[in-house]
């Protein structure tokens, strides 16, 4: 049985396929990529959260307490827990990617990628400790 063949000017028509809209579900690594990209939503959300907190602090004691109470509401808490997980995922994927973009040279020798990666994680630890110290220290 033959369905109708089609021809262009010079040769039989080539078969062209378009990727499906759900291409990112076809492989685990594609899904991991889309989740990594999706982490940016939580980066954006947390900026909004920070700004709301600054506003609460600036407006006075009552406003600050109101903010803290709002942050304990189940929906907000759930969103922030998910944000925390995605932000950690973002940090890990970013620090694993950064050494591949940064070709650091000492003289003519290239610093090994592992060293660049480890320094990122070390900086992350230092920055986090600094945040804890500033916020929690009296």
């Amino acid at each position: 049985m033959s369905d109708s063949p089609t021809y262009t000017d010079y040769h039989p028509r080539w078969l062209r396929r378009r990727p499906s809209t759900y291409w990112w579900l076809e492989k685990p690594s594609y899904l991991a990529f889309v989740l990594r990209e999706g982490s940016c939503l939580f980066v954006g959300w947390f900026v909004v959260y920070l700004l709301l907190m600054f506003r609460g602090v600036l407006q006075g004691d009552a406003a600050y307490q109101e903010f803290l109470a709002w942050s304990a509401r189940p929906s907000v808490l759930a969103l922030n827990i998910i944000s925390f997980l995605f932000l950690v995922y973002h940090a890990i994927t970013f620090f694993d990617a950064a050494p591949r973009a940064l070709a650091v040279h000492v003289g003519k020798t290239r610093v090994p990628e592992r060293v660049v990666g480890v320094s990122h994680y070390a900086a992350w630890l230092v920055a986090s400790l600094l945040v804890f110290w500033l916020v929690l220290g009296s």
């Binding site: 078969l15 396929r17 690594s29 990529f33 990617a97 591949r100 973009a101 070709a103 003519k108 020798t109």
Partner: protein, 246 residues
């Protein structure tokens, strides 16, 4: 039966059909056979009309790239026994137009490759009497990894950006541009930057990283592209602030 394997092979015969179909065969599966051996068995003994590309059968020519169970692979480097009893599904390389059966048109890649000038570009060639261009082993190491590319196009098949936007110049072209940009004998970085600083050049890449995963020669095109983005960004800043040249 571990010594036989079911194989599903994509067929597209444009003079007879307008859609892709699948043929199923059961073929022997000795433990040292690769997928390419299986395809040649089918062509020799079962169906001589099956069309596919292959050449060196040892992973250096880059001709035999196909989609095996959804993954882009070199069929000369993929063992059949790993998929026994099957079914193993063999399709043409993704993201390229299919000419016939397992053969795709690679013209798009070829044009893009030429556009990045993958050769040593120099303002003045040294005359022979002045001797050779000196390159230390360290200078070689800078770009050696990117020179391993065999133009097999598995990276293009894996890249979702190339699938969604065929104008994207693609991983191998950028990696090969970098191979020459980082070569101390080359002076053509600015010419390549002209092509690669377009939207469809390096800036189309969103660092999915699939290209590096599927590369059979461990070229790491994703790494090459990210490094080039940093270079490109710095060059753009220079061009903006010092338009008459630094």
């Amino acid at each position: 039966m571990r010594d036989h394997i079911k194989v599903q092979v994509a067929r597209y015969l444009p003079e007879k059909q307008s859609e892709q179909t699948f043929d199923e065969h059961e073929i022997p599966c000795p433990k040292d056979w690769v997928v390419l051996d299986g395809l040649n068995y089918i062509k020799d003994r079962i169906d001589g009309s099956l069309s596919f590309r292959w050449s060196c059968r040892m992973g250096i020519c880059g001709s035999c790239g196909m989609t095996v169970n959804g993954e882009p692979k070199l069929t000369c480097a993929t063992f059949l026994a790993e998929y026994a009893p099957g079914p193993i599904r063999i399709e043409p390389l993704r993201n390229f137009p299919i000419i016939r059966d397992l053969i795709v048109d690679i013209g798009d890649f070829m044009r893009k490759l030429v556009s990045v000038k993958p050769w040593i570009v120099r303002k003045y060639e040294k005359p022979l009497r002045d001797g050779e261009y000196i390159q230390t082993p360290q200078e070689l190491d800078e770009f050696k990894q990117f020179s391993m590319c065999i133009n097999c196009m598995l990276c293009y098949a894996a890249c979702p950006v190339y699938g969604l936007d065929p104008k994207f110049i693609g991983p191998a072209a950028i990696a090969l541009a970098q191979r020459y940009n980082l070569d101390n004998r080359d002076e053509g970085a600015a010419q390549r930057m002209e092509v690669l600083s377009e939207h469809a050049g390096m800036w189309g890449c969103t660092f999915v990283g699939e290209c590096t995963k599927v590369c059979p020669k461990h070229v790491d095109p994703a790494g090459a592209i990210q490094r080039y983005k940093l270079t490109g960004a710095i060059e753009s800043m220079k061009a903006f602030f010092m338009p008459r040249g630094a």
